[in-house]
Symmetry: C2
Subunit: 234 residues, 2 copies
Amino acid sequence: MSRGIAVVSGGLDSVTMLYSLLAQDDIEVVSFNYGQRHAKELDQARLITSHLGIPHRIIGIRSFGEAIAHGSSSLVNTDTEVPEGSYDDENMKATVVPNRNMVMLSMAAGVAIASKAQFVATAVHAGDHAIYPDCRPDFMRKLSQAIKSGNEGFIDPGFFIRTPFIYQTKTDIASLAGRLSVPIELTWSCYKGGEKHCGRCGTCVERLEAIHNAGVTDRTPYADTEFWKTAVNK
Amino acid sequence: MSRGIAVVSGGLDSVTMLYSLLAQDDIEVVSFNYGQRHAKELDQARLITSHLGIPHRIIGIRSFGEAIAHGSSSLVNTDTEVPEGSYDDENMKATVVPNRNMVMLSMAAGVAIASKAQFVATAVHAGDHAIYPDCRPDFMRKLSQAIKSGNEGFIDPGFFIRTPFIYQTKTDIASLAGRLSVPIELTWSCYKGGEKHCGRCGTCVERLEAIHNAGVTDRTPYADTEFWKTAVNK
């Protein structure tokens, strides 16, 4: 059994990763509040880790979001609309917060070093689209190398960024969630902060499609259960 | 003229770097509040950028410091004494915040991408001791590679982490500060948050020695002006 830090947003992917890691490793969870428009996913992450009885830290990096808010991201800039529909490049570029993944993984690595953990795990997957270079194997490899170099003597020599889903699709993850009995309805994917998942934003569409294709049961309530069928593969 | 983000703590090194960069580049300044025991250096950084009339963002990452406070660092854990005397390994290991440099440079890179800047500059120098692996050329090279990989398509293809002092000593920097007429007395180096620089902590000792060796004028008041002479090279 090794010790690791799991970066968990509260979404389907990271929660499924958490369940799969817990089967064999000693896990602490780190989540980030980077100035999302809503904290719903963090609430859900807290609920899930509390249910599982595992340590959970939420690190606030809202100030980073604010510093870059004059950029183009709709996730930190409330003046920009969240795009609806599929994950096509044009739409989703507006949701990229510059270097966000690296900031979060660098902090998770700091926690890992303090906790004498051997890895940081992130739920990036093959379906993360071409517009997210910080979800690619090349980045994860270079990031691991930088972390090990910058913390030589303080970090476990075998430390690495663990990416169990990097060659899997979102449908693969949904299938795994079914096999592991992950409480899918407790996870939160929607970019909007409503009472229910909207069913129309990019992540809702992606989630609904993956769950459908995997054929798993989903008790999540959605405001719109039909939109995704017309939005995918646009 | 290129555009860059300078990481400035308010200390002698980073302020001297700022003055040297301003001679040829378009510079914005980023500072970090990571839960230092005192914010004196940030106040001084603010004073200096205000005097120079250049943009300055202070990004709060206190929450990161708190998340790792159960680790071993005296900079974020107020239960641990700040060591006095020279920068020998035993003393200074207590001041290492895991992966702090990487967290700050990753955030500065995010700001650089949002600002369409070509570089992030950091004032690490050859005298940063062997216990700080995140001040070494190998780390800076790997970090630049990770940042470029993780932001491909969004970042200037020529982006790099600029480290103008990485092969210079602190005495070289103090000499440059003299030539550039840097207001040394406005910079803040002391690890303690007193009215004056204590003159006894590791950074005070290092600062006093460098300024002495460079033979430059220093109007900074110190609580103890003699201690450094016996503390160095212990």
